[in-house]
Amino acid sequence: MINRLSHTCIYVLDQDSAYDFYVNKLGLTVNTDAPMGPDARWLTVSPKDQPDLEITLMPIRSGMMFTDETAEQMRSLVQQGAFSAGVFNTTDIFATYEELKAKGVVFSKAPKVEFYGTEAIFKDDSGNWFSLSQTS
C-alpha cells in the first residue's frame, strides 16, 4: 500500500530563474537549497501547507540520465510546453489569480468553473504547465 508522495521532480531550464519563479512568485517555501559540488545544486521547494512534499527543481543537463542529445531534446520539449507538471490547490482562486498575475505569472486560462472545481492555467518560467485549482 502506498501512503504518501514525498518527492516529485520538475525539470527546469535554469535553477536561479526557477527559484525566483517558484519561491518569489508562486510563494512556495524553500525546503533545501544546497550546493552539491562545484557545478550542481540540490533545490527543493514545498507548498505552504505541505512542508513534507519536496518538489525538486531539477536542471536539465547531460549526465547519467540524459545524453547531450536527450538533454537538448528535453530542454526543447520543456520550452515548447510539452509537459503538464501538476495541479496547485488554493483556498481562494480569484485572489491567488490576481496576485500571481500582479507578480508577472502568465495565465493561458483565467479562473473558470469546471465540473471538478474552478481552474486557471499558467506556465512556469521554463514552459511547464500547471493548473491552479479550487475544489470547494
Binding site: 517555501t29 550546493p35 549526465g63 481562494d92 485572489a95
Partner: protein
Amino acid sequence: MQPDEYPKLYRYRRLVQAKLFIDQHFTEKINLNAIADEAYFSKYHFIRLFKTSYGYTPHQYLIRLRIEKARLLLSRPTLRIEDVSYAVGFESLYSFSLLFKKQIGQTPTQFRQHSLDRTRRLRLEPRAFIPSCLSSSGYVHDED
C-alpha cells in the same frame, strides 16, 4: 467575468494589493491598520476578508513571513541570531525566539544547529537525502 461580478473583482484587487504590500515590506515596521485604510477596507472587514482568502489574519501572515525569512537566514552561519531577528523585522529578540519556536517547533539556536548539520550531512552523504530515482541525473555519483 459577468458585469455583476466587477465589484468582487475590484475587492479582490484591493485585497491582493494589500497582501503584496505586506510581502514586499514585511521586514519593515508595518502598520496593518494603515494598510486596511489604504485599501479602503474597515479594519475588521480587512481582517475577515484576508483570513477567508489566505487562511491567516494579516498579523498572523506577517509573522509567518518574518519567521520563514528568518529560517532561510539562520542557515547562514555568519549571521548572529540577534541580527537575523532584526533583519526580518522583529524589535525584540525575545518575541522573535518565542514566535519562532511556536511556528517551527525549535528555538532559533536549535534550528540553526540542525540546519548546519543537515547541510553538512547532505554534502557528505547525499544518498541519505536524495532519492535514487532523482540522483541518477548527476547529483550523486555511484562509486560502488
